[in-house]
Symmetry: C2
Subunit: 130 residues, 2 copies
């Protein structure tokens, strides 16, 4: 169900610093390594490496202008990533729900036994009540 490309996307957005970088880029509509590093607790070089990673998986694109290298978020690719997140989330959610229902069923059965361990079915002698 998950491809290698998807794994790359995941590990790209798995890093907290990279997630914050994407936030910043979305907020400002783009930015440079130096600019981003001023809002992050890491050096410009570390930011540059992260940008290279994000670029490699297509989550951002760069454009050189003079001595500046400006990065913008690729909306389509980020959409893909978001779809991945919600997909995995809903799969796990579904499994959790199933487990939860199962547990409740077992609990009900247990309580039933606790109430009357040997009592058979209710309606075995239900016909002709009078």
């Amino acid at each position: 169900m998950s491809t290698a490309v998807d794994d790359d996307l995941w590990s790209a957005i798995g890093d907290p610093t990279r997630r914050r970088m994407i936030d910043l880029l979305l907020d400002a509509g783009g930015g440079t390594a130096t600019g981003l590093s001023e809002h992050l607790p890491v050096t410009r070089q570390a930011v540059a490496k992260h940008l290279a990673v994000l670029d490699r998986v297509g989550l951002v694109h760069a454009s050189t202008a003079g001595r500046e290298r400006r990065y913008r978020v690729d909306q389509a690719q980020l959409s893909r990533a978001v779809a991945q997140l919600t997909a995995v989330g809903s799969v796990w959610d579904a499994r959790l729900q199933r487990i939860k229902r199962l547990a409740e069923t077992i609990q009900r059965e247990k309580e039933a036994i606790d109430r009357g361990p040997e009592r058979p079915d209710d309606n075995t002698a239900d016909d002709d009540p009078k």
Copy 2:
């Protein structure tokens, strides 16, 4: 908005191997390091380390039974993680939507200019069409 604990949760589920392990554990309702490693492309020891990571952030719990050490998913904590995923996803989605609307607005304005760069309002000379 994101705490250190949340970052730990994220990086725990950020690893593709660990995600597949959670999948397997959910499917089978629990499992051991040796058992999981048979369904994964890594050795038993690597799986054991991953299980230790997942245990440290509370996503799984272990119980020793004889020579076996069986791990189960902590439903509440996984729910937390899923909530995280969907939260980040919806934030990014919202930003993407905003950008998309903005782009469409600009596009409409551009097209309007292309149709008639200097034309003022539509209904200035609308009376007496003949």
